[in-house]
Amino acid sequence: MRLSVRLYRLLLKCYPATFRERYEVALERQFKDEYADVTGRRELGGLWIRTLVDFARSMPSQVAHEIGQDSRHALRTWRRSPLQALSILAVLAIAVGANTGVYSILDALLLRSLPFAEPHRLASLDLASVPLNDVRTFDEWRQQSPYLADGAVYMSLEGNLDTGQQSGRGRLTETSRTFFPMLGVRPIIGRGFEADDETAGRAPVAIIGHGFWLQQFGGDTRALGSSVRINGVPLTIIGVAPPGFDYPLKTQIWSPTVWDFVRIPKTEVTFRTVIGRLRPELSWGQAREAFEVEMQSRQSPGRPAMGAPPRLTPLRESLAGPLRQASFVLMAGTVLLLFLACANIANVLLARTLSRATELKIRHALGASRARLIQQVLTETVLMAAIAGTIGLLVAWWSTRLAALVQPPSLTSQAYEVLDWRVLGFSAALTLITGVIFGVGPAVYAVRGCFAVSSRTATPSTGQGRASGLLVAAQMTITIVLLTGSLALGRTFVGLLQVNPGFDVRPLVSLHVSFAGAGYEGGRAREYYLEAIQRMRQVPGVVAASATQFLPLASGAHMASRFTIDSTGPETLATFVPIAPEYFRTLGTRVLAGREFTPSDLSSGESIVIINEELARVFGHPASAVGRRLVDARSARTIVGVVQGMRDSGPTYAPEPQAFVPSRSPASLIFVARVNGTTGAARDYLAPIRAAVAAVDPKVPVFDVKTMGERLDETLARPKVYATSVIFFGGLALLMAIVGLHGVVAHAVARRTREMAIRLALGTTPSRLRSRMLGRALGWVLLGAIPGSIVTLVSGGYLRNLIRGADASLVATCAVVSAGTLALAALASWWGTHRVRQLEIMSILRLETGD
């Protein structure tokens, strides 16, 4: 008997408060009555089944009924102060939305399944760790690997794509034959690569992407056996990849030619990438150990290791790249913002709840229990959070669109989605937790307020003041962390805009051409580009034109070599850039010593080189480098000039040592033209300059036509978005903290009116009272500011994941932010106490004593 009744009592706890209060006894009574009629085990089972069915039928409708009642009550309350309700909703929507947005990026990058079999066992390996001489050594290595079950190599490039009906640019990935089987991916039609396909000299075959198949062949199976041309080389289609598979880098065509470098002509610098699948019996830890042992055994004792030691990285991690760290930092920021919003709203609601004490007392007197009052307050806060969460989905959607612009995901299957069950689940859970977090404080105080000895002359408990004060302190901690971070990022970003990149940005226009498959070998390419430069110069308004193989801000990859001067001294690694005559004049880069290349240097065949000041400095004073010989493993060249250093990868990267040589037979080129700034913006020249280059030979595709300003904007887009979003968080945090502090102080004044009236009656001046209140408020502010500063200084290094070098000025920024916040807090508090001046002592005291 006892057990059944006890269980039933537990079940009753699930009914909402009002219903429980009214009928708990009756329900239990009826259960006991029915229980008394039970004679055997069978009947007891029947009773419980009936009881559970009854519970399932009645409980949800009661909950819905009471939530409906409480929600209508909440809406009536909000209608009385719509501005407050709207501002709470806005703050919450931004905070929940920003969290959901950043989470959806993390979800896409780190949680969502990749289009491979068992993606968690796939690894990305450093090049240095794998023998990549030829197919035989690679096959031996992967078959004997103590930690890999299988491995594959690929090399991805953009090329000129010609399907017969259409030509343009497309992405090709050259792979080893093991690529598809290792990833666990099978073509949906046709066959995969076989050992024969890899043999050098055989007619190349290709597997095409599903999207490409639909687009170019309308999903027709007759695509198998037909061919596509890439960089002029025909590839026979033998298979179609499954939908959603576009690894790596949204590839459209895969060919098993990675070991046959010359088969498909390349115009850009490409890298091989090695991926592998861990042996099934090994954990990641064991595999890493085996990998490190292999690395140590391979390292040659004479030559010290360069750079970071090779690593075995989960493929998912390397796919996410730098965005992974950045997203974690942003997530930390948005979570802090959400906490801040919760603390702030809790404080506002706390103040409101206390001012509603009379209403709550009346409700209590009318029979509402503790549970009923808590339920009512929590329904209100969760309802508020739910509305904000729904609006927040829009904020989240908008932030993922922004993220996709700044840092597009590298695979289609990693697209940032808000309408994904995990993201929606996260948002719903966050909303519910948020509603409960900022509701619990007010709910508890609502109840305590009602159940305390009710007397209008009673002094409010110090506990309530302490709770408000602690919330203020917590807000200050978060505000200082967010604000310092945002100011540090802002300063760094403004600094980036002011950096001199070593070339002029505004008057430059640039465009790519690729000779692949267009029949330009050897000297013919030089004729082409000299002709193109000539035609560019003839465009009215163009003052200089030149070309290079690697333009700053436009090239992802470089060639590099180790140099010495006159074969003496230490070797220095420098990038190697073939350029056309007048390159530096066109870019506006200063020639510090010597001269730049002239057209006669192209035909003379003399081995000459221009170096930049970073390389020259390694060997002494820049001017003294001219006339000496720059030597690497393959050649020795006479230095004819030294130029100013250029920030090739954007303002966040310092200039690197560079060597420039005359471009005599390029496979691809980037043309650059300098326009007269007074006759119009560089953008106006894009079309005529493109037309001038395209007119030289329509068979040579011209693409990526952009002004240098646009390239710089692209480089700075990510820092800009990070800086802007974090500054937005910081600003919002400060605003919330100040408004919250003002509210708390004003509320404290309202609460202590009677006490202050007595003090004034006893002779204190209003200013002294205000100072006391100010001192107390600032005490709480300081209590929060100190841990805030410590957290900022300790964790500031993580800002580097958003913008390089962002943590450099952290200490000074933190000091400025703390001082500024303190001053603003003092102002807000002082303003919050202004009612003290208007206190009318006698009327208050008369009211309190009931005269």
Partner: protein, 121 residues
């Protein structure tokens, strides 16, 4: 007078079976919850057995709608437990029950014309 009482009886039709049976039982006099449950089960040959949740859920709703009210009168304490709550029909509740009866009567008439009034074999 509650908000609901101002409504016309027909606004509440049709009634849920449980509600109509409760009205029917209270038509004979005051009852407490468990008595209602037993009487309804008996009247329907066990076809409608109201569990405590559904029973008191219906009662709460009917109180809210003004169909029934709690009774202050208690029978002889020797005969019953005074902690039990007793319910009785309100005049409004009686009107609603009558309206439902009329509605059902019309329905039965209509059905008889359509299908005949003989019991199935």
């Amino acid at each position: 007078m509650s908000r609901k009482e101002r409504e016309a009886p027909v606004d509440l039709l049709p009634l849920a079976p449980a509600v109509f049976h409760i009205l029917l039982s209270l038509g004979e006099g005051e009852r407490h919850g468990y008595a209602l449950k037993r009487e309804i089960a008996k009247r329907t040959d066990g076809a409608l057995r109201l569990g405590p949740g559904v029973l008191y859920g219906s009662i709460a709703k009917m109180l809210d709608q003004g169909l029934i009210e709690e009774s202050e009168d208690r029978p002889d304490p020797h005969l019953d437990d005074e902690r039990r709550r007793y319910y009785r029909l309100t005049p409004f509740g009686r009107k609603v029950a009558q309206a439902e009866t009329a509605r059902l009567r019309e329905l039965v008439k209509l059905a008889a014309v359509q299908f005949g009034s003989r019991e199935p074999a």
